[in-house]
C-alpha cells in the first residue's frame, strides 16, 4: 500500500461511517466486559435484526470510554453529530435505547451521563483520542481517524534525525515512570552503530490498581504499532517486540489481530507504505512477574531467559537485546508519538509545565465518586484531579492521602493537594509520577497498613537475585507486621529506616531501590500513626487488630550481651 491508497482507505472508512444513521458504541474494555458488555451487544444486535434495521443502525464494540466505575457504558451517536452517553446499562435497557434512538426519539433520561460532567470536560485526550471511539479490532476505523498518516509523513517527508528531533522538541518523557527524555533516548539509539537494532514496547504494567497500559492496548492497539514503526524508522531498527503482561489476554488478542491486519495492508512488513523501510513486530507474553517490567529483566525475558534484571550500565541503548542497541519505551510513550507527529511537537509542548510536557494517563481509583481512566494535562493539581475530574470523595469520606506510583511510589497527604502533578514535584514530595496509578484514600485507610500491603507485594515480586531486595523486603515486612499486630517495641521504626536506606541504595534494580518508597513516604507524613500503633496500641483509622503483645527483640538481647561481653574483655 502507498500513501495515496491509505488516503483512499481513510475516505472510504469515513464514508461508510456516514452511511450509518445511528451508531451504538458499546465499551468492550475489560472493566465493562466483566460487568456485562457482551450481553448488551448481543441484545442490541438481536434487536436490530428483529426490527430489520441492519445497515442504518450499527453496533460497534469500542475501547474504554470511562468512567469505568459506572459501566457497562454505551454511547449513542446520531448522524448529525449528537451524542448521548449512558451508564450502568442493562440488556433490557439496551432494547429500550435501540427502539427510541432508532426512531430518532429522545432516549430515557435515567442513566444518562451529562456531557458537562467534569470527568469529561477536564480531560485532554491525546493518547486516548480514539479510545471509546473506534473498534480496536477494525483497522479501517483507525485509518478513518487519520491512523498511520503520521507514519506516512515520517517515512516520506522526514529523515530519521528529523523524527528524533521532533520527539525531542515535543518534550515527551518516559511514561513508564522514569521520566527519561524520549527524544534523547531515540537520538542515542539512532547514533549507536550496530548490525541490528530493536524497538521494544513495554506493556508489562503491574502496579496494583493501575490499568493505563492495558486500556490503551485494548482500546487503540494500532496507535502503539504506529508509534513503534515510527520509532523503528527513527532509530534504524527493523524489528520490534511488544511485551504484554500475561494476564492481559484481551489486549494480547487485539494486538495480535492488529499486527496481522497492519501486515496485510502493508503498513508493517517488508516495504512499509511503499518505502524501503522494513519493520516487523512480534508479540511476547509475560509470565506474570512484576519485575519483568524492569527493562533489563524484560529483555532477558524476551530472549527466552529468566526475567532477572542485570546491572546497568550497559544501558539498553548501548547493549540490549542480543547485545544490540535497543530502544525500550512504555506503550503510553509510544502511544503519544503518532499524535505528536500529526499535530506537531509544538502543540504537545504547549501543554503541561516547563519540564513535564503533554498529557498523562492516570488510573483514578479508590474513594472518589467517578473512578476510571483519565488523561489530564501535566501540571494539573491533585485537587483538580480528585475534586474536579473524580467528582470529589465518595459518600461519607474525607481525603487523607493519594498514592501515586504504586509499590514504587508514595502517598501525598492533604496539605500537598495543590501540588502540580509533574515528574519533579512528585519526586520532591517523596513519591513518583510512576506509570499512572492514582489511588485516593479516605480516613478509613491506615497508612501503616498501606505500607505493609505494598511491602508484601514487593517481597512477593522480588526476583531474588540481590540480597537487599530478596531478604530486605521480608525483614521490612516483618517489622511492619509487628507494628500492625502490636508486638513492636521502640526502636523498630529506626531499624525499618535503616533497611529502607540499604534497599534504596544497594539494590540491583529499580524494584528493590524503590520498594521502600511507600514506607518512607508514610513515615514522612504519618509518623504519628506509626507511633500510635507502637506506643498506644491504637490504629487511628481503626483497621489494625492488635492481637499480639510487645516482644523484646532477640537481636537486641544479643546486642546487649555482646556489648557486656566486650566491656568485660576490655576490663581484662
Amino acid at each position: 500500500m502507498n500513501r495515496a491508497e491509505l488516503d483512499q482507505l481513510r475516505d472510504r472508512a469515513r464514508q461508510a461511517k456516514g452511511e450509518q444513521r445511528v451508531r451504538f458504541l458499546v465499551c468492550y474494555s475489560t472493566p465493562c466486559l466483566s460487568s456485562g458488555a457482551p450481553a448488551i451487544r448481543a441484545a442490541l444486535e438481536e434487536g436490530i435484526a428483529e426490527e430489520g434495521r441492519k445497515g442504518e443502525v450499527a453496533v460497534v464494540a469500542t475501547g474504554c470510554m470511562g468512567p469505568c466505575s459506572r459501566g457497562p457504558r454505551v454511547t449513542v451517536q446520531h448522524r448529525g453529530g449528537q451524542e448521548t452517553a449512558y451508564e450502568r446499562v442493562t440488556p433490557e435497557m439496551a432494547r429500550v435505547l435501540l427502539r427510541r434512538h432508532a426512531a430518532d426519539e429522545e432516549g430515557p433520561p435515567e442513566h444518562v451521563l451529562a456531557p458537562d460532567l467534569p470527568y469529561f470536560t477536564r480531560q485532554t485526550r491525546w493518547v486516548l483520542e480514539n479510545s471509546g471511539r473506534v473498534d480496536p479490532e477494525n483497522i479501517a476505523d483507525y485509518i478513518g481517524r487519520d491512523g498511520y498518516a503520521a507514519l506516512g509523513r515520517a517515512l516520506h517527508e522526514m529523515t530519521p534525525e528529523e523524527v528524533c528531533e521532533a520527539i525531542a522538541r515535543s518534550g515527551l518523557r518516559g511514561r513508564g515512570g522514569g521520566g527519561y527524555p524520549t527524544g534523547l533516548k531515540w537520538h542515542l539509539v539512532r547514533k549507536a552503530r550496530a548490525e541490528r537494532k530493536f524497538v521494544v514496547a513495554n506493556g508489562d504494567e503491574g502496579d496494583p490498581g493501575a490499568y493505563m497500559d492495558r486500556t490503551l492496548m485494548e482500546s487503540d492497539p494500532h496507535k502503539i504499532l504506529e508509534g513503534m514503526a515510527i520509532a523503528g524508522y527513527a532509530v534504524g531498527a527493523d524489528k520490534g517486540f511488544i511485551y504484554v503482561r500475561g494476564e492481559y489476554a484481551v489486549a494480547a488478542k487485539r494486538l495480535e489481530k492488529a499486527i496481522r491486519d497492519a501486515e496485510r495492508l502493508g503498513l508493517l512488513g517488508a516495504r512499509v507504505l511503499d518505502s524501503s523501510f522494513r519493520f516487523r513486530i512480534d508479540l511476547r507474553l509475560g509470565a506474570g512477574a512484576f519485575v519483568c517490567g524492569e527493562e533489563t529483566a524484560l529483555m532477558n525475558s524476551i530472549m527466552g531467559g529468566r526475567g532477572n534484571p542485570s546491572p546497568r550500565p550497559p544501558y539498553p541503548a548501548q547493549r540490549g537485546l542480543w547485545n544490540q542497541p535497543t530502544l525500550i519505551n512504555n506503550v503510553e510513550t509510544l502511544g503519544a508519538v503518532a499524535p505528536i507527529l500529526r499535530h506537531g511537537p509544538e502543540a504537545f509542548a504547549a501543554i503541561g509545565t516547563a519540564k513535564s510536557k503533554g498529557t498523562k494517563i492516570f488510573a483514578l481509583v479508590g474513594e472518589v465518586r467517578t473512578a476510571g481512566l483519565i488523561e489530564v494535562p501535566m501540571g494539573i493539581t491533585l485537587r483538580e484531579i480528585v475534586e474536579g475530574v473524580g467528582g470529589g470523595m465518595s459518600e461519607g469520606e474525607t481525603f487523607k492521602a493519594a498514592q501515586t506510583g504504586g509499590p514504587s511510589g508514595g502517598c501525598i497527604p492533604r496539605e500537598h493537594l495543590d501540588t502540580p502533578v509533574d515528574y519533579e514535584s512528585l519526586t520532591a514530595l517523596g513519591s513518583i509520577m510512576g506509570s499512572g496509578g492514582l489511588i485516593v484514600m479516605g480516613q478509613k485507610s491506615c497508612m501503616v497498613d498501606v505500607a505493609k500491603y505494598f511491602m508484601d507485594f514487593c517481597l512477593d515480586e522480588s526476583c531474588g537475585k540481590c540480597i537487599p531486595c530478596r531478604a530486605g523486603t521480608v525483614e521490612m515486612h516483618r517489622i511492619l507486621e509487628r507494628i500492625t499486630s502490636g508486638s513492636a517495641v521502640e526502636g523498630e521504626i529506626e531499624r525499618l529506616e535503616e533497611l529502607c536506606a540499604l534497599a534504596r541504595e544497594a539494590s540491583l534494580c529499580g524494584l528493590g531501590a524503590t520498594a521502600p518508597n511507600p514506607v518512607l513516604a508514610t513515615l514522612r507524613y504519618f509518623r504519628d500513626e506509626y507511633h500510635a500503633h507502637i506506643r498506644e496500641h491504637r490504629c487511628p483509622a481503626g483497621v489494625c487488630r492488635f492481637t499480639d503483645v510487645p516482644r523484646e527483640h532477640l537481636g537486641d538481647r544479643q546486642a546487649a550481651q555482646m556489648q557486656s561481653a566486650r566491656s568485660e574483655m576490655e576490663g581484662i
Binding site: R306, S310, I467, G555, Q558
Partner: protein, 243 residues
C-alpha cells in the same frame, strides 16, 4: 592494550581497559569484600558486598560489574559502605539457617569469615528459618538448601566451565532455590557429569561431599583458574583449526 588510570581510595592506580573496578582494585592490593564473585566466572552482581561509591554519582555501584574508566574516583571504604556490608551479611545469616556449629564447612566458610572480617557479631533481624529440604540422593555429593546463599556460583561454573548447565534457579524472592535439571533429585540428573566443580566453588556448606562431618569439608577452587588459563592458551589452536 590501552592503560587507564583511576583513583581508588585516594591512591592513583592503573589498569587495563576493559577491567572491572574490582579487578583493578585487587591488582593494586586494595581488597573489596565479595561473595558471589569468583575469579574465572562471569560477574553476577547479586551479593552487593562489593558496592563502591563513585564520585559524582548518587547511587552505589557493584565493583564486579562496573568497568573501570579513565579518571574514575572510587571509594571502597566508608562508614556508609561498611554499614551496608554488615547489614547485607546479617540479612544473609538471618535468611536461611546458618548455624556454624553444626555445619560441614565450619572454619572454612566464606560467609563465616566474611562475617568475622566485617565485624558482624550479632544479627539484628528476624531469623526466618524457612523449612527447606536437602538433596542427598547423589552418591558423591549433597545439597542443603538451608545453607544456600543463592550466589549462583554453582550455576555459573556448571554452565560456563563444565558446559553442562545442570544447575539453574527456580522461583523468585524468598522462594528462590537452586535446582538440578528441571528440579529433580540429583541422582536422576541426566546432564550432571559428576565433576564436582559446583561443590568446590560453593562458598558455604550448601554443597558438600557426602561422608564429611562438622568442619571437615574444605573447598579448593584453585582448579578454576588453571582450566581457564589452559583454555586461553589453547584458544589460538582451536581457532586455527576452525578456519
Amino acid at each position: 592494550m590501552s592503560v587507564i588510570t583511576l583513583t581508588i581510595d585516594g591512591h592513583l592506580v592503573s589498569g587495563r581497559a576493559g577491567q572491572s573496578v574490582l579487578e583493578v582494585s585487587r591488582d593494586a592490593g586494595i581488597e573489596i569484600p565479595t561473595l558471589c564473585w569468583l575469579e574465572g566466572l562471569s560477574p553476577w552482581g547479586g551479593c552487593r558486598l562489593c558496592v563502591v561509591e563513585l564520585k559524582g554519582e548518587q547511587r552505589l555501584f557493584t565493583s564486579c560489574t562496573t568497568v573501570a574508566a579513565e579518571g574514575m574516583h572510587v571509594v571502597t571504604r566508608s562508614a556508609r559502605l561498611e554499614n551496608y556490608r554488615r547489614m547485607l551479611v546479617e540479612l544473609l545469616l538471618a535468611e536461611r539457617n546458618h548455624y556454624c556449629a553444626v555445619c560441614v564447612v565450619d572454619g572454612h566458610c566464606e560467609l563465616q569469615s566474611m562475617a568475622a572480617r566485617l565485624g558482624v557479631d550479632h544479627v539484628r533481624f528476624d531469623y526466618l528459618n524457612p523449612p527447606l529440604p536437602m538433596d542427598i540422593s547423589h552418591d558423591l555429593f549433597g545439597l542443603d538448601h538451608n545453607r544456600c546463599i543463592l550466589c549462583t556460583r554453582c550455576v555459573r561454573v556448571c554452565d560456563e566451565v563444565e558446559g553442562a548447565h545442570t544447575w539453574d534457579v527456580r522461583g523468585r524472592g524468598t522462594t528462590e532455590r537452586v535446582v538440578i535439571d528441571l528440579d529433580r533429585p540429583w541422582k536422576e540428573s541426566t546432564s550432571c557429569t559428576r565433576c564436582g566443580k559446583c561443590v568446590q566453588v560453593c562458598p558455604v556448606g550448601a554443597l558438600f561431599h557426602k561422608g564429611v562431618t562438622v568442619g571437615e569439608m574444605v573447598k579448593d577452587n584453585s582448579f578454576l583458574m588453571d582450566i581457564i588459563k589452559r583454555r586461553r592458551s589453547a584458544q589460538p589452536f582451536v581457532e586455527r583449526r576452525r578456519s
